[in-house]
């Protein structure tokens, strides 16, 4: 019975939340900013996975790029990504499947938040209040705007399992922690978690030294009793570290670059950032709190919004008793705030200079969404609980009532001073006042029951209106934008904004006329008769630009990566290269997937084939089953000599061992997840 009611506490607000964001879920308003590229990556990944291909290369990303970067961004081992595959199998379109996944993932975050709140406050009423405040905060809009939901869910569940484990050490909780940690470790930025966790632990030792000591002792006892299980957890975590470490190694190899991100960084890894670059991603630059109280009609994606009830609770609880958990939460928030404001405090600079992993955190304002906002909601609920406790113990209830009404009046006066206050905001204050009146006059049981509805109403009336504004505003902005005009083929191509690409393609983009490059990229395969060696330099790029623009019958291969036997000048050759060998019947595409190309060649004489898919050292070529020398041609692409007659050319990315490892990881994580569910199920049965 109790669990059914709790199920309603969780699902009904969530369904209404989804209704508030109906414009986004129906595709009326499109995903924005980073959310778009993440949707693309996950779509590409799940589509390949459903075909039985593990994509380690993305041929569609600026003429191809290693996919490991994107796999680390999304955390490819997360078994919940398989939900997208499942939904598509059920017949959902890619977009709908992804939006469902996003919604479900946000629900998971809200659920974990509810469980944490219930654990802390030991009361479903306060947990529910916290849950709706969190759910209807602008965290919800973030899922359509950036990707942090992908790292937030494992982080919040980790903390839930940690709190559970700290109370009663059990296998399920430990495995839950390890599983969440494993997912976090397979992403390329586990450092947000690491920082939050480190601050949390340091402050926990400071605030609760005895509890922490006791926890340590109990943990050792637990570890002693479950050696095999703990060993499995350790192995699981160690294996989880491997993709991240491989990626880190790859980021140092120079095979791929992130020019904008890496500009000015002192560390060789391509994903490292410079201190000056971090400032652009800090809380001052991104903490858009201009519409916190008023002008919600102008709310934008990424803006901070919290229902008025949050502020009212903090205001009325001013005279409630402060307790240790409140101060603990506050300390966490303040420390993370100091880090998040970078140049406006010395802490970030200190950490950047002395902690290696801080050199990899750019969007430092994520701390706000990942920890500060959830902790602030918990703090407000803690204060609210304390207030109700003080009132219930007090004999002067009349005085408290006057005080609470006064607080509401003060808040109304404050709102009057703001601009553009919506009707929902006024209604929220009114409903909040009604709640407190019911609390004072309704009796304990009655006020509690009605309290659920009234507090939810106070949050919902405002949020419904605010997210309605947001949906309409975003729709208008997207309609007004000249996005489609920019995509018109007749547009003049400016320099490609690649963000992430291979080192050689980046070189090409920076040295060849954009329009020439754009025209060249339209041809997937080109056959040449002449091959000349080159050494990079301004003069060469000048020649290359002219040669490419006029489609000269000359391919260029890197001087120091090829031998003289591979350079050739045909005595009699056509002036122009064959840019469409498929039509001329010289080339037939037998098959291709993310990681391979299989081509059938039919040539009258030996010719040099350039596949305009980027080259990296991890690509291997085979002609009729025999290894062939794959060259870096025309600066960035793959090229090889194909003999006369019929032959089959096979190009493969990476090694079979690599694919086996990735598939094994998926199986390991899925298996661990099922094991975790079984352990937790046993705990609840």
């Amino acid at each position: 019975m109790k669990s059914r009611i709790e199920f309603l506490y969780l699902t009904v607000p969530f369904i209404l939340w989804a209704f508030c964001f109906r414009d986004f879920f129906t595709g009326h308003v499109l995903l924005m900013q980073d959310a778009v590229s993440y949707a693309d990556h996950i779509k590409f990944y799940t589509e390949n996975l459903s075909k039985g291909v593990f994509p380690l290369w993305n041929p569609f990303w600026f003429n191809g790029a290693p996919y490991d970067f994107f796999l680390r961004r999304m955390g490819d081992c997360n078994p919940l990504l398989l939900l997208v595959v499942f939904l598509k199998w059920l017949g959902f379109s890619s977009a709908n499947a992804y939006l469902c996944f996003l919604g479900m993932y946000y629900f998971l975050a809200g659920w974990a938040f509810y469980l944490i709140a219930r654990l802390l406050f030991e009361d479903s009423f306060f947990a529910f209040t916290g849950y709706i405040l969190f759910l209807f905060s602008s965290w919800g809009s973030e899922i359509f705007y950036n990707y942090i939901i992908i790292i937030f869910v494992p982080i919040i569940w980790f903390f839930y399992f940690l709190l559970c484990f700290s109370r009663t050490p059990q296998k399920g909780y430990l495995l839950g922690m390890c599983f969440c940690l494993g997912i976090i470790l397979t992403t390329y930025i586990p450092f947000f978690f690491l920082t939050i966790f480190a601050v949390f632990c340091a402050l926990a030792i400071l605030f609760y030294p005895k509890v922490m000591l006791d926890l340590l002792k109990r943990s050792f006892v637990f570890l002693g009793k479950n050696k095999i299980f703990v060993s499995f957890c350790i192995v699981f975590l160690l294996v989880s570290c491997i993709p991240g470490l491989l990626f880190y190694k790859g980021s140092q190899s120079g095979e791929f670059v992130l020019t904008e991100r890496h500009a000015g960084a002192a560390v060789s890894s391509a994903v490292a950032v410079a201190l000056s670059n971090v400032e652009s991603g800090d809380l001052i630059n991104h903490g858009f709190s201009d519409h916190l109280f008023g002008n919600h009609q102008l709310l934008d994606m990424g803006d901070i919004f919290l229902p008025n009830l949050f502020f009212i609770l903090l205001l009325v609880a001013t005279m409630a008793k402060v307790n240790k958990p409140m101060l603990f939460l506050l300390s966490n928030i303040l420390v993370l705030f100091l880090i998040s404001i970078t140049s406006a405090s010395g802490l970030h600079r200190f950490l950047f200079e002395h902690l290696y992993f801080f050199k990899f955190i750019r969007n430092i304002y994520y701390f706000f969404w990942l920890a500060m906002l959830p902790m602030a909601v918990l703090l407000a609920i803690s204060a609210f609980k304390s207030l109700l406790s003080v009132i219930s113990q007090s004999s002067k209830k009349g005085t408290w009532l006057v005080y609470i009404i006064l607080c509401h009046v003060l808040f109304i006066l404050f709102l009057c001073r703001q601009q553009g206050i919506s009707t929902g905001a006024w209604a929220a204050v009114l409903v909040s006042m009604v709640y407190f009146l019911v609390y004072f006059y309704g009796g304990n049981k009655y006020s509690r029951r009605v309290g659920f509805i009234l507090l939810f109403l106070a949050v919902f009336v405002q949020s419904f209106q605010v997210y309605g504004f947001l949906g309409s505003r975003m729709y208008k902005i997207q309609q007004d934008s000249d996005y489609f005009a920019k995509m018109h083929p007749s547009r003049k191509v400016s320099k490609l904004a690649t963000y992430y690409d291979t080192r050689w393609f980046d070189l090409l983009v920076n040295n060849v006329d954009p329009q020439v490059l754009e025209n060249y990229r339209k041809h997937r395969f080109i056959l040449y008769d002449n091959v000349f060696p080159y050494v990079e330099g301004p003069a060469f790029f000048n020649i290359l630009g002219k040669s490419t623009a006029s489609n000269d019958n000359i391919a260029y291969v890197a001087r120091f990566e090829s031998g003289p036997f591979e350079w050739r000048k045909a005595p009699y050759s056509a002036p122009q290269a064959d840019i469409d060998p498929m039509t001329s019947g010289k080339l037939t595409l037998l098959g291709s997937d993310a990681n391979t190309w299989k081509l059938k060649m039919h040539l009258a004489y030996s010719q040099f084939l350039v596949i305009n898919d980027n080259y990296t050292v991890d690509w291997h070529a085979f002609i009729n089953g025999h290894p062939a020398h794959l060259l870096r041609a025309n600066v960035s692409f793959k090229g090889l000599w194909v003999p006369a007659g019929d032959s089959v050319v096979l190009l493969c990315y990476s090694t079979p061992m690599h694919y086996f490892f990735h598939f094994s990881l998926i199986v390991l994580f899925a298996g661990t997840f099922l094991y975790l569910l079984a352990l937790l199920q046993r705990r609840y049965v």
Binding site: I284, M319, A320, V322, M326, L330, S343, S386, L387
Partner: protein, 298 residues
């Protein structure tokens, strides 16, 4: 009492207050918030540039006003923002505010500035307040072009304007063009005031300045000055010179016709009058010369 207060949630606000004072560099914090707000408010200057060049008829001035007002709320003494807000205010039907803003930005450290003086001159000229127009236009002419150029190249707002793809002009040229315009309006103001001697002097001075353009106007106004003074021979020569550069100004033919009539050549006078009449019918927007002069910010 204090113990009671410190056992309440209010202590959290106190902690936050002390924390903010002790741990946060509030000066940097405030400054960076200002920069963020300014960055958010930067409008697309394409419309404003196109309007200034007569390529756009309607402009939504609100984002420009908001931006310049924001700059002035942070840096009230910013001369460039005052000049630009004055320009925007004038076209947003806030003429009085525009005049106040221009008047407060006519000099910097005692040095005359071009744009505000020029705009005030244009504004008073359009209102028919000739002495005031003359005063400001004289100041505009006397301003140091290099100082204006330096200020425009160093001001962040102008950098934002200059990087806009709609801006395809040379700053030095636009300054010279504005000065040329100021000369024309000054000559026209002097004409309206009946100060023909000064008119001839100013036109002569303008003609000696090689950097100014369009130079053809000065010949016309010099001719006009001499004509009004009754020195028809000099007037005739200047009008003829004017026709060498531009044969479409109907007024020149009108005055030449009158000179011919005075010289006892009625047939020639009739021919010139006929040409003048025909050109008037065309209603060429280039004439009279002062017709095309408007407020500018580059």
């Amino acid at each position: 009492m204090l113990r009671w207060v410190f056992s309440r949630v209010v202590v959290i606000y106190f902690i936050i207050f002390v924390f903010a004072l002790s741990c946060v560099d509030l000066k940097t914090f405030k400054m960076r918030i200002k920069v963020r707000r300014l960055n958010q408010a930067v409008p697309n200057f394409a419309d404003m540039i196109n309007f200034s060049e007569g390529k756009a008829e309607k402009v939504d001035w609100a984002p420009y006003r908001r931006y310049f007002q924001l700059i002035l709320s942070y840096i009230p003494s910013d001369i460039i923002a005052r000049e630009l807000l004055g320009y925007v205010d004038f076209y947003s039907a806030q003429e009085n505010q525009a005049i106040d803003l221009f008047k407060s930005s006519t000099t910097i450290n005692g040095q005359l500035l071009l744009w505000s003086n020029y705009n005030l001159g244009v504004l008073y000229y359009k209102k028919g307040m000739w002495p005031q127009a003359e005063g400001y236009l004289l100041k505009a002419i006397s301003s140091n072009s290099q100082l204006d150029l330096l200020m425009m190249r160093n001001a962040i707002v102008y950098k934002q304007i200059l990087v806009n793809s709609a801006f395809t002009y040379d700053l030095q040229d636009t300054i010279n063009e504005a000065k040329g315009g100021a000369y024309i309006l000054l000559l026209s103001s002097l004409y309206h005031e009946g100060a023909y001697d000064r008119m001839v002097q100013v036109a002569d001075f303008g003609l000696k300045n090689q950097h100014l353009f369009p130079r053809v106007d000065f010949y016309y106004y010099a001719g006009l000055g001499y004509y009004e003074k009754g020195r028809l021979h000099e007037a005739f020569l200047f009008f003829q010179k004017s026709l060498e550069f531009n044969k479409d100004n109907p007024d020149v033919y009108f005055y030449i016709a009158d000179i011919c009539r005075s010289a006892g050549r009625p047939e020639q006078a009739r021919d010139f009058l006929k040409v003048s009449y025909l050109l008037h019918q065309k209603n060429d927007p280039r004439f009279p010369y002062e017709r095309g002069v408007s407020l500018r910010f580059f």
